[in-house]
């Protein structure tokens, strides 16, 4: 599988296609109250998102 490593911005941009109910499911998977938790804990959410983006870049190198 050939896949170019993306920047964090490019990864976020590619997520724009994700349907709302899929995003909702992802948040429910990450947090006990889903999007409500993310809204109530914005700093935690941003930190988790940053970690996820780092992980995406690591995985992209793995599958390149």
């Amino acid at each position: 599988m050939s896949r170019k490593s993306k920047t964090k911005l490019q990864i976020i941009w590619s997520m724009r296609k994700w349907p709302k109910d899929y995003v909702d499911w992802r948040l429910t998977t990450a947090y006990p109250n889903g999007w409500r938790y993310a809204v109530r804990h914005p700093i935690t959410f941003v930190k988790d998102l940053w970690k996820f983006l780092n992980w995406c870049q690591m995985i992209d190198k793995e599958i390149k």
Binding site: S14, K17, P32, D48, I59
Partner: protein, 301 residues
Amino acid sequence: MLSFKIKDITFKSPVIAASGTFGYGDEVQKIVDLDKIGCVITKSITFEKREGNPHPRIHESNSGMLNSIGLANVGVHEFCNQKILKLNDINTHFIVSIAGSTLEDYIKVLDVIERSGGQHIGYEINVSCPNVKAGGMEFGINKDMVYKLTSELRKITNKLLFIKLSPNVTDIEDIALSAESAGADAISAVNTFLGMAIDYKTGEFILNTKFGGLSGPPIKPLALAKIYKIYNQIKIPIIGMGGISRVSDIIEFLRVGSTMIQVGTLSYRDPSIICKFYDELKSFMVENKINDISDLIGGCK
């Protein structure tokens, strides 16, 4: 040439979307060409709705993922009232993953889903979740309990019955044999490996529950070994999984004895990646003059 049959069900691709990484299955149909996926396995369903474990419950480790989600799901009644109707319309087969704390839990959930009017082709019985206090892996590490659970569920459904095994045991092949002799149609192997992460500066556990299940590319060699051990003991198909991230990994899993494979953690990176395997697998077969995907199964020497 990529299609395969288990009992009377034909799968158009050997690549399956693993439970827990692909939503309930219906959410992704706008961004994933489900026609290129053999089957979707839903998030594990329990009798009651579950919020799962407290945050933090996901930790992205080196190229892998440690999770302790704790079977968060909508519960069987909401699943049957809302999700299953949408799943009936998706463009591939779907299998319902079931989890529970007791034998009765599993039976109740399966019984409700059997009467729901769903077009699902079968069930994957999750006896291997390492992230719940009761049930889950407790079933999966005991061959007598796996036998009892499988035989009880076999009595109430004629649909496909896959048993998803834990790798966190000494002799996984003994547990697979129990499931086979109790009437399972296939073995899904393997679920996540028990793991842990620590903040080296503070000494604190990173996951709220201390332990979690490790998945992703780091577990691939461990998963291959477990599948090879199972393949040499049982006759029913094996649905292999554990760190698949490229088409060469799929071939390796087929060669150690898997009939089909599941992609999990990689879908968490991007759910649409899984479709690309269909085309790449086809190209591999053409380039290597392989007519039938089943020619690859068990072909390691």
